[in-house]
């Protein structure tokens, strides 16, 4: 399966095995090294945040975005 991953202005298209999860993409060491994202990120597909257990969309676009934690009250 082919997935396009976007992080900011960078866009990557990678081939993955069928059934690859969103979490696998977010923890992809090669991608993290090239794109520069850390562990505190989330994935959006069509504007909707995806759980790490969700299957990545074959032929689709995954937008990786920095996650902001709320302030401690």
């Amino acid at each position: 399966m082919t997935v396009t991953i976007k992080f900011g202005s960078d866009s990557f298209t990678r081939n993955y095995e069928e059934g690859t999860k969103i979490g696998d993409i977010l923890s992809d060491h090669d991608l993290k090294a090239v794109a520069g994202w850390g562990d505190n990120v989330r994935a959006l597909v069509a504007g909707v945040e995806q759980p790490v257990s969700a299957t990545a969309p074959d032929g689709g676009v995954v937008i990786v975005e920095t996650r902001a934690n709320s302030k401690a009250s």
Partner: protein, 250 residues
Amino acid sequence: METSNIVIESDGRMYKVRKVKTEIEVQADILGRFALEKSVKLTNVLDAGILGDGAMGGIGISATPKLAVYTVRLSKLPMRVAFFLTDQKIMVPNFRSMNKSDILHLTWDIPEAMRVYWLVNMPAVNAGDGMSPYSDNQFLVALDNAGRSYRLPVSNCYEDGRLCPGEFPSAGRTSMEVLINGWRQFTQGNWQSDLSDRGGGATTNAKNAENLFRYKPKEPEGFEQLDPVISWELCCTRISNEHINTNIIL
């Protein structure tokens, strides 16, 4: 309405193709949804000089019927924060300190290779309901030449570049008044210690700030800005915020 035309295929066969055009009723809420998602980008709407020293170029606006986002490029970063003198006699900021006696009011001239932007959200309001324009969010982001975005090693800034500007009059009679109020807060307020650990972490951010924002005391008084120790990208945290990516006007 039906139309037809003759198509000749590459094998020489001829076909008659009929098209039937039928008007369909689209629910108003669907049309409304499309209208709400339509965005307009306006560049150089205003001379950023209207805000004063520290802003440059033209102010851009990215607008949908629900929200307007103003982009201001910075030539200087306000540096009203506690400073300390290192062993090498270099003045560097300590964004974790709340010691008021250490606060200096400096600015940091942004290097040419670095583009820093301040963005302001203004949700659409209905003046007929007696609502005033207001800002609900501000953002601070640095971009490199490839358009990659970074969080600066400052405080009062979340992981994704959203600012926590503190208490100030975020509403105004006009959008311009809202922008100016926000600008005053951004440039004249002190950096607090909140969120100084976001992005790279407290220790890393502190070290990055020391490597990036550097001054030397000069005689008889004042401070001279020094170059960063390493490239500015290495002093910042790589981020991506789709709200910024979508609305920033470069």
